[in-house]
């Protein structure tokens, strides 16, 4: 098993290199970072030339990739525009742990830009994921055990309906009902946007209160996905011979459902959840935008719109590394849980 893990990790390295190259090329072709530096007007030509030189944007794409990867403190840049490079660079490159500085938040290290937002995203996403898992499990188990009953049909219809709703629509509808209109009608209301009320301050109670609508938006829409999956794996497991044996042996019903049924049905779910976890880091783009939740999803959108290569690459590489790692984790976990599986 150890050898398997090490082999997978070694295989991941060239994969990550290729991923980073492809992403970098895509980023560079997405637009012009200098285009939006003029504020509300077109960037002046003199500023465009100077900034292009000072920020290293006039270099060919492979040189820019090289600087991103291994830094530019071994090369000199021409800062004063006389054509002669005289100033040594200050970047150490990703391989030495320096992800560069943001083009948008000038001078701020990428790790700080992302690090400031990551806790907020994790808070929201992990809570939502937990709600989704617990909720889906309950719904899926109930649906499987009461297959084709009225309740099962109603639940299935409801979850599919919610799944088909565009998430921004759902978010705005709940915001308007529970925040704007409830307040107008004098009912206890939820807040519209943000993480807390300025007058009260950033207390855990405030943050939890403000999390209700975004978490609800994320969970309700995704209940259908997991619950259907659990329902089908439960049905499959409950139809197996060993369940019939357990029933014949006269074991109590809860023990049959949870220990013999769910434990086996849950294996694929574990894999699916493990594969979904890395994308939690990326945040929920639409939900964060609508509820003004300061997470990495919004960060990605904002910096992508302004072509901030350093930050976007930092986010994408973080997710890429997480995906690779969690895939290995999922495989190992699956093997650990299911004694029938052995890797060479």
């Amino acid at each position: 098993m150890t050898r398997y893990i090490i082999r997978r990790l070694l295989q991941a390295i060239p994969l990550l290199f290729i991923i980073s190259m492809i992403l970098f090329v895509l980023m560079q072709n997405m637009g012009d970072p200098l285009a939006t530096m003029g504020g509300r007007t077109v960037t002046k030509s003199a500023d465009r030339e100077r900034l292009s030189r000072q920020l290293g944007l006039d270099k060919p794409i492979y040189v820019q990739y090289l600087y991103w990867l291994i830094g530019n403190d071994w090369a000199k840049a021409d800062l004063d525009g006389d054509g002669i490079p005289e100033t040594p660079g200050t970047r150490k490159g990703v391989l030495r742990g320096d992800f560069g500085t943001s083009l948008l938040n000038r001078g701020v290290p990428v790790t700080k830009v992302i690090g400031d937002r990551l806790p907020n995203t994790l808070l929201l996403m992990v809570t939502a994921e937990l709600v989704i898992i617990v909720g889906s499990m309950l719904i899926g188990i109930y649906s499987a055990l009461n297959q084709y009953s009225t309740a099962d049909n109603i639940i299935s219809t409801a979850t599919f309906f919610l799944y088909s709703l565009p998430i921004f629509f759902f978010a705005l509808v709940v915001m308007y009902i529970f925040a704007v209109n409830f307040k107008r009608w004098g009912l206890p209301y939820l807040p519209t946007v943000g993480m807390f009320e300025p007058q009260v301050g950033k207390t855990p109670a405030q943050v939890a209160w403000h999390m209700v609508l975004p978490v609800a938006t994320l969970s309700f829409v995704y209940f259908a996905a997991y619950s259907r999956y659990i329902r089908s794996t439960m049905l499959e497991a409950m139809g197996k011979d060993y369940i019939r044996t357990a029933k014949a042996k006269g074991l109590p019903r809860p023990e049959i459902i949870y220990i013999h049924g769910l434990k086996n049905a849950a294996l694929p779910i574990v894999t699916v959840v493990a594969l979904d976890l890395p994308f939690l880091l990326g945040g929920a783009l639409v939900t964060e935008r609508i509820f003004a939740w300061p997470g990495t999803g919004r960060l990605f959108l904002d910096h992508l719109a302004r072509n901030d290569t350093a930050v976007v690459m930092g986010l994408l590489m973080m997710i890429a590394v997480a995906v690779v790692l969690f895939q290995i984790v999922a495989d190992v976990l699956y093997a650990w849980l299911d004694p029938r599986i052995r890797y060479k």
Partner: protein
């Protein structure tokens, strides 16, 4: 392990927990707009043309107010920003949402009032030839600073800070957003702490609209520059705890909010409000919801269709003109452009064929008017100019005259085998897409076919070197909202030297056309320090651009602010929106 009763109790616990949470959490004290429509404060009228740079009276210094004894509640106002500032350092950003905060925590040498007239802040009076502030030859400008200026930490603010700001702007080690107009200064010196003398290489007419938009504190940043060799990474850019405005920066949490608290040491007297809380809400629909629910007292960049909704919810919409006009540029480059567009008769036909009055009434709800020139609502436009009227018959006659006729009956005119069909491009904003649809129909009615294209902003505004569609001549007619150096009329869009090419990929004359007469006029106005002479030059410029339809105006593009009526004493300027923030108060 999991027993059924356990699952049941788990469910109960979850439900109970959510109730407890609901009960525990303190919903904010309702800051809702009052339910009954209250009397809105007299809306500020659309701002007038900026007055001439006459020496204005210095503002009456407010009496230093007594700090309120044990205030029952802090006066905190919440603003909603749909874009988060990228940085707060005045030198490193041109982002509007950042620069308009300068009047809160930083200071300009002079700002602009609700009529867009200059108003002294740090200087005793606006320099002019009469008071000796400007030399006879127009090349030397002298500023006399007030004696009582202090930074928020008590350090005196002097001419040395001005010189430091200049040096940091011009230093090649700082990747600043813009070096102009400081790159035009030949010599700058401070004979004494309250006097600053700037000598320009040539007389620089746009000085009042472009100089000293924010200062850097020398005593804080000089040591940073000395030790780091650059200001690019300075902490102060993210957290400018030392400033010179009525408020002081307190906190900025990435993506979430920023706080500015009252500056007790402000040399013009403590502001009435205790704190400004800026909340970043990127989504337009969420901004509207938050304003209606009272989670914000002020919002801006409101889409026209949302305005009646907000007014119905009790908010006041204040309009202020900031020099922006939405209009069309044309690709006039003979090599890349469509032959029809290069004919002035065709461009005039386009002007007559489009009903811009109806466009503003229908799409913009009558809240603005068609634009005639890029200098509308300023004293620089020839008074005889009014927007081209809607006259489709005249348009057809002009096209016939120009030789474009529909010989094969397909509804599209042609000449010498070329169809009168070209590409009309703009960004993806809703209002622009709607305009495209309307104009496409109107042009089709006179036999012109247009193909519509839309791009994201960062692609649309990309330069020639980056393959931007407008800059590289892929669009025959391109639309966006443009502004001169408001309140100054100076602009670079028509200079021959600004035509982009492989040698000069950064050029901003995307029409690709050199009109030597126009170019000469633009060069001339930049040096005319005398207002009357400059005005005459601009009369000629505006008339020429209008007659030759080098630029066709769609509508005047004012800024709108949605304000909760509980904010008092509000006034907005088109140039420095929050110029009187120190007087704002909460009911």
């Amino acid at each position: 392990m999991f027993q059924k009763p356990f699952v049941r109790s788990l469910l109960f616990m979850l439900i109970a927990a959510s109730f407890v949470l609901a009960g525990c959490a303190q919903p904010a004290a309702p800051t809702a707009a009052p339910v009954e429509p209250t009397q809105p404060p007299a809306a500020v009228e659309p701002t007038q043309a900026p007055a001439v740079a006459e020496p204005t009276q210095p503002p009456v210094v407010a009496e230093p107010t007594q700090p309120p004894a044990a205030p029952a509640e802090k006066k905190v106002t919440t603003f909603i920003w749909t874009q988060e500032f990228d940085t707060l350092n005045p030198l490193y950003t041109n982002m509007w949402f950042s620069t308009i905060t300068h009047q809160w925590w930083n200071c300009w040498a002079w700002d602009f009032d609700e009529k867009n007239a200059p108003r002294p802040v740090l200087v005793k009076e606006i320099p002019s030839v009469e008071n000796g502030g400007i030399s006879e030859d127009g090349k030397t400008i002298t500023l006399k600073l007030r004696e009582d200026l202090v930074w928020s930490d008590g350090t005196p603010l002097t001419a040395d800070d001005f010189i430091f700001t200049y040096e940091m702007t011009m230093s090649p080690k700082n990747a600043v957003a813009a070096t102009s107009p400081y790159d035009k200064i030949e010599k700058i010196e401070a004979p004494d702490p309250q006097t600053l003398v700037m000598t320009f290489k040539d007389p620089y007419a746009p000085w009042v609209g472009t100089l000293w938009h924010g200062l850097l504190p020398k005593h804080i940043l000089q040591p940073v520059f000395d030790s780091d060799g650059t200001l690019d990474k300075a902490e102060w850019s993210r957290a400018p705890t030392v400033g010179c405005g009525p408020f002081v920066f307190a906190e900025w949490e990435s993506g979430s909010f920023a706080r500015f608290v009252a500056n007790e040491k402000y040399w013009a007297g403590r502001p009435k409000l205790d704190e400004i809380f800026v909340r970043f809400v990127p989504d337009d629909a969420s901004q509207i919801a938050a304003l209606k629910a009272g989670d914000g007292d002020l919002g801006t960049f409101i889409a026209y269709p949302d305005m009646p909704d907000l007014e119905a919810a009790g908010l006041t919409l204040v309009k202020t003109f900031s020099g922006y006009n939405e209009g069309y540029y044309f690709l006039l480059d003979p090599a890349k452009g469509h032959p029809a567009i290069q004919d002035v008769k065709v461009r005039q036909a386009i002007a007559y064929a489009t009903n811009r009055q109806k466009l503003t009434e229908d799409l913009l709800l009558g809240k603005t008017v068609p634009a005639a020139t890029m200098w509308d609502a300023t004293p620089y436009i020839d008074p005889s100019i009014t927007p081209y009227p809607y006259d489709p018959e005249k348009a057809k006659a002009l096209l016939d005259e120009a030789g474009w006729v529909d010989t094969n009956g397909d509804g599209v005119r042609e000449k010498d085998g070329t169809d009168l069909s070209f590409i009309y491009g703009t960004t993806t904003r809703e209002i622009r897409k709607d305009t495209q649809a309307v104009v496409q129909q109107e042009l089709a009615a006179v036999g012109i076919k247009v193909e519509l294209q839309n791009f994201d902003s960062d692609i649309y505004f990309a330069g020639y070197g980056e393959g931007g569609p407008a800059a590289t001549g892929q669009l025959d007619m391109f639309e966006y909202s443009t502004v001169p150096q408001f309140p100054d009329p100076d602009t670079f869009d028509f200079l021959c030297a600004e035509i982009p090419s492989d040698e000069k990929p950064s050029g901003t004359n995307w029409e690709g056309w050199c009109d030597p007469e126009l170019d000469a006029l633009f060069q001339k106005q930049a040096t005319e320090v005398d207002f009357a002479a400059r005005q005459q030059t601009f009369y000629q410029i505006s008339k020429m651009i209008y007659d030759k339809v080098y630029w066709l105006g769609l509508w005047q593009d004012p800024d709108f602010y949605a304000v909760n009526p509980k904010l008092l004493n509000i006034k907005f300027s088109g140039v420095t929106p929050f110029f009187n923030i120190a007087e704002w108060d909460l009911k």
